[in-house]
Subunit: 718 residues, 2 copies
């Protein structure tokens, strides 16, 4: 039975839904972009939204997170079967799709530190543990299947070296150390989580000649400085470790041995590469602040620069003096392991557009229990599928083919999604959208990232969905963001554009949309509902934490299921694809102008004329086609194909300099950021590197793409 609060919300929703149904008779409904007449869609939307069930979402979550289910483990396979069952029950044509991919599993991990006299300062990793006598403890912490804290894709290694503290391990941090005369060559670098993707920390440390990397969670960023630690509060306790992949994600994601091709079980070994360039050659391991504390405390040497001090109760020093020696002994079991995506399909009815897929996905594998990351998304998606299954029973069929995907091995490097995308590149070349959700619910605050052409689409959909806080999700989202500058998520939001409307991030990386948008140009979105999420990638991201601090009555699960479902329904059924190229054009123009200012500031002589002209052409073509989209021809199939092809025009078949897998010229994860998007990356990273020749040639590629995209839109405009 649905908890009281949810019932209240359902009735709230009913009231709120009326205007849409009522409006179906009026021409005002033409305002829902993409529809000639929203009447019928409004009815299906209402019918759909009545189904996703908070209590059932909670049940899915409880079952999915009952055991640690690291990718390729038997428990992971059990979750695949559960998801496949639910897909089938909803009437989806379902298959479990295996791949054979490189994964490391820790056999033994030892990190120990010694002072100058050889006295042991610490030995870890300490098992994650909170006191059962206090605030109820944590019921899941003693499961023997919990893997010790390790980094995905760290090599095995046995290194002993002095320690240097390098703050967040950003490029600026390593440059700062160098400017202070502190070398990290042949040292073990101790860095804190935050600011950039952990694989980037290792990437830079390796470039600077470090022998190994320890990555710890500082309580200033992720622990008691933020709020009460679990189980008293939602924040990271002293022993909790942030696991995670240290793959060089900005080089390429997926199975390291098969960039660009799919690691199907039958792929011969000869097609797998030997020394993947997206993997570190130096060992790396995460640490809790409990384990990092004795190391940091014993470091001497110069005081840290401004902004490097964390919240442990002593003065931080840079080290490198020989006072502290760390021994890292990492024994990793590297093997090609089987992982399992689950794919559920609903065939479209329109012969002209049924091959233009709408894909929606979420990953299923977890470092440990993964209550928030990722199974809050899986639970929501299963309720989306539940709702769509109900529509199918009511006789509804989509115009375009819908695929739901439950990805595996996302945590190691977006592997399940990347291999599947690489396998289906031909079909996906004309897929109309990919909708992602990963850290779906950690609290009550909706957030989204998207290509600009789908930003307004998300705002429209969230205006249809009631919020557990009252009003619509859109209203609450806008209100929250107006009063809030802080963000709780692990994604870096510094790139978020300032806008009057509810803000939407650019797509960087760190989840399964990356192969879709950045490798193939499938217009994508990523959504979540955020909160005070202090247990990311630790054992404590479990059901117990979730029901205490994220969503006790699963009403935000229900909300996300509804939003995710409306994204799919609208994109599958719209008369005209609701891409907003006007916003896209404006944003691209602003990126180019910003790059021009940056180049001027750095005295880099570059000619932006042709690129700016092309961007203005694209913006003008976008405005013209927008009018056509609002008044589409009777048969919009050709228009739709052309609309879709404009995004494809942003791909450069050669890819980005140094990283050919990334083909999108407008968005990529930054080489030195990882999570955060770099816009017009070819141009901006060349400017950042002060390389005028490369910048000019990247400007030429961008100009060509913009003209190509403008041509496409021009050809569609009447």
């Amino acid at each position: 039975m649905t908890p009281p609060r949810t019932r209240l919300l359902l009735s709230l929703f009913t009231v709120l839904a009326v205007p849409f149904v009522g409006l179906a008779q009026s021409p005002a409904l033409q305002q829902v972009f993409g529809y000639r007449d929203f009447t019928q869609q409004a009815k299906w939307d209402a019918a759909f939204m009545a189904i996703p069930d908070a209590k059932l979402a909670g049940e899915h979550l409880k079952i999915l997170t009952a055991e640690p289910h690291w990718a390729s483990s038997p428990e992971d396979y059990k979750t695949a079967l559960y998801v496949a069952d639910k897909f089938k029950a909803a009437g989806l044509e379902t298959s479990i799709v295996p791949y054979k991919v490189l994964l490391n599993k820790p056999v033994s991990i030892l990190i120990e530190a010694f002072d100058a006299d050889g006295k042991k300062l610490m030995s870890g990793p300490t098992p994650e543990h909170v006191d059962p006598a206090k605030y109820g403890g944590d019921p899941g912490q003693n499961d023997p299947r919990i893997l010790t804290a390790f980094n995905g894709f760290s090599p095995s290694g046995d290194v002993t070296a002095q320690v240097v503290y390098a703050n967040y391990g950003t490029l600026a941090d390593f440059k700062k150390l160098a400017s202070l005369g502190i070398s990290v060559k042949d040292k073990i670098v101790l860095v804190r989580y935050g600011e950039n993707f952990r694989g980037v920390k290792v990437y830079i440390a390796q470039q600077y000649g470090a022998k190994g990397v320890l990555i710890y969670s500082d309580p200033a960023d992720d622990g008691y400085f933020r709020g009460d630690p679990y189980p008293k509060g939602p924040y990271r306790p002293a022993s909790a470790v942030q696991r995670g992949s240290v793959q060089f994600l900005p080089i390429y994601p997926g199975d390291p041995e098969t960039p660009g091709i799919a690691s199907t079980p039958d792929l011969p070994d000869s097609q797998r590469i030997k020394n993947p360039v997206d993997l570190s050659t130096i060992p790396a391991n995460p640490l809790s602040y409990k384990d990092a504390k004795p190391i940091l405390k014993a470091l001497d040497g110069p005081d840290v620069p401004d902004g490097w001090q964390g919240a442990l109760p002593f003065t931080y020093h840079l080290g490198g003096t020989g006072k502290v020696t760390v021994h890292m002994h990492l024994q990793q079991d590297y093997a090609r392991r089987t992982i399992w995506n689950v794919i559920g399909k609903i065939e479209g009815t329109d012969p002209a557009e049924r091959n233009d897929w709408v894909v929606a996905g979420n990953h299923r594998d977890a470092w440990v229990y993964g209550a928030v990351d990722p199974n809050s998304g899986t639970a929501a998606m299963l309720e989306t599928v539940h709702g769509i299954g109900d529509l199918l029973k009511q006789g509804w069929r989509p115009r375009r083919t819908i695929l739901f995907a439950s990805w595996d091995a996302e945590e190691e490097g977006l592997i399940g999604s990347t291999e599947w995308v690489e396998q289906h590149a031909a079909e996906l070349n004309h897929a109309v959208a990919y909708f992602n959700t990963d850290v779906s619910v950690s609290g009550p605050n909706f957030s989204a990232a998207a290509v600009p052409s789908l930003k307004q689409f998300i705002r429209e959909i969230t205006s249809e969905v009631p919020s557990p806080k009252g009003g619509t999700v859109y209203d609450q989202w806008k209100k929250h963001e107006e009063g809030n500058t802080e963000t709780a998520n692990h994604r870096d939001k510094s790139s978020k554009e300032k806008e009057d409307d509810a803000p939407i991030d650019n797509l960087g990386s760190g989840s399964d949309y990356t192969p879709f948008i950045q490798h193939l140009g499938v217009p994508s979105t990523d959504i979540g509902s955020e909160g005070r999420y202090g247990v990311y990638h630790s054992t404590f991201d479990d059901y117990n934490w979730f029901i205490k601090f994220a969503d006790p009555t699963f009403v935000y699960e229900q909300e996300m299921a509804r939003i995710f479902g409306l994204e799919v329904l609208h994109m599958a059924d719209a008369d005209v694809l609701p891409y907003d190229y006007q916003t896209y054009g404006k944003e691209i123009l602003s990126y180019i102008e910003a790059a021009q200012r940056h180049a001027a500031k750095d005295n880099l002589k570059l000619d932006f004329t042709a690129t700016l002209t092309a961007a203005q052409r694209f913006a003008a073509a976008a405005a013209a086609v927008h009018t056509d989209q609002a008044n589409p021809p009777a048969d919009a199939a050709a228009l739709n194909r052309t609309l879709r092809s404009a995004e494809e025009a942003f791909l450069n078949p050669e890819g980005l300099p140094h990283r050919p897998w990334y083909k999108h010229l407008i968005y990529a994860p930054g080489e030195y950021t990882g999570y955060e998007a770099v816009v017009i990356p070819g141009v901006n990273e060349a400017i950042e590197a002060n390389d005028a020749t490369r910048a000019q040639s990247q400007l030429a590629a961008l100009t060509e793409a913009l003209n190509h995209a403008a041509d496409k839109l021009d050809s569609a405009a009447k």
Copy 2:
């Protein structure tokens, strides 16, 4: 014998001084504002600057800080004798001037905290102590004459109450608590040092109905978060307490019983008031972070708002739930005690201007040893006097009368200076300048605060003095401030105007310039050389700390002695008083414009027309008189008197609303800041309080003052 580094500096100085001497023959010297011909002054300057001796300054400091010398103690009297001896030796007409003033001495201080079960959490104040086995410890920490940590002018009291944490105890912080529904009524408020003057924290807490106040030093602001604690580094160790006065300084300073009149020993009791409004009625006491930690750790209740978390290793909460009870038992011995200023005089030679005094002062009393605060200033001043004494022996005599002052009981509330100023108000009405130095040397970075008319004066003088870092003090000062936004001093610098030149603060309060400028309108400056000063008002502000972390070879002592001396020499001997009213005029105009914007933002209907017109009149008059100052008449005495009278015109005999002792209409310590200046305080505080009637009447007073000042300058301009 002078240490090697100092000898190098002396020769550096000799080289640097040559251009001045050489330039004495050229007309370029007219550029030293205030002199018709700088030739002779340049020679005296050079002769003077050769005398202040680093080693002797170190000896003064060692002797002055050999014992704790709290105001009115026998040890304080010994330092008065030492200073008087040095004054006499230099040829100054010297007297020790006693006052009888109200002071409290702690008899017994007990702060204890209990949890809900009555279990004792702490009992203090813990004696200040660092481990002698580590880094040499501290030789002075066990002296039985060290007074236990207390607040000057806290009443005695015995209160027991629940605790609420109120961040820095600013007005905004108390408003925030109220907005969160947390009442401090009848509670003991725990606040951290920083942001405002400690007396203001108590002032606001009392207004909000608190029963008592505990003020602690958080390591985030003042401790290990900043750098290594003493004795390893210069920052505050866990047990160190910031003592200090909690007088309501923004109401009035000086002896609380005698506002406006001097507490001479023979002042009858009938002239002393009974219930001074500048004293708190609720008890207050400082705590170390060692003692505050168990209280803060045990507090529960709501999480603290953004920005309230400190650097102790747990999550802070607001408290007020009854979980923690504090008992404060303060027994203070209040009595009228004798304090001793030392005044040394050099009679001026010019019959027309000898009564226009130049006063230079520094306080001598300390909470404990006072190596930096204040005796780094006393040592520097004694070397200034040493240098001026040498000039006297060489036959030099000043045009105007010079007075050097060694103030007592500054720590309790600028008492020695205030009483003396009140006693000599008639003479000081036409004193041409007061030069202050208090925390004179805590490190190598020159800083200054001044009335705008003396900002350029300080820049000129520092251009004459060599810096131990090479080049001139002015060059190093400008260079340091360009690369530095942080400040180490206890003065709040947020009000520092942004300027291209070396920045100079406005005069707020917290040292002995206050009675001069803000009560009588004597143009004033305050100078210091700052560093990583982490032992402010603790036992550890001693000779041992000083020679480890502030100025091991006393070369900055020498530098400050030279700058202080040149200020005195130039002001005593200038042909024309070197007041720069042009800068003053510009600054006043900018204050009025800022107030106008503030009022507009708050929708306060105010008419600024007359005030702006008057300010423009004043600025125009200042420009005209500036030309005259550059080409003065043969007899400049009348011009000088008029120049001086312009500053006097800024006084309002009625004083500021609610605080009539403060008469200056351009600068006052903020009612809710204390240290930091509020500019055009009558106007701005009325706007802040949203009181349009008061603001308009204060604008009228300001208009009158500006017109009056402009009349004065107009009368001087030819």
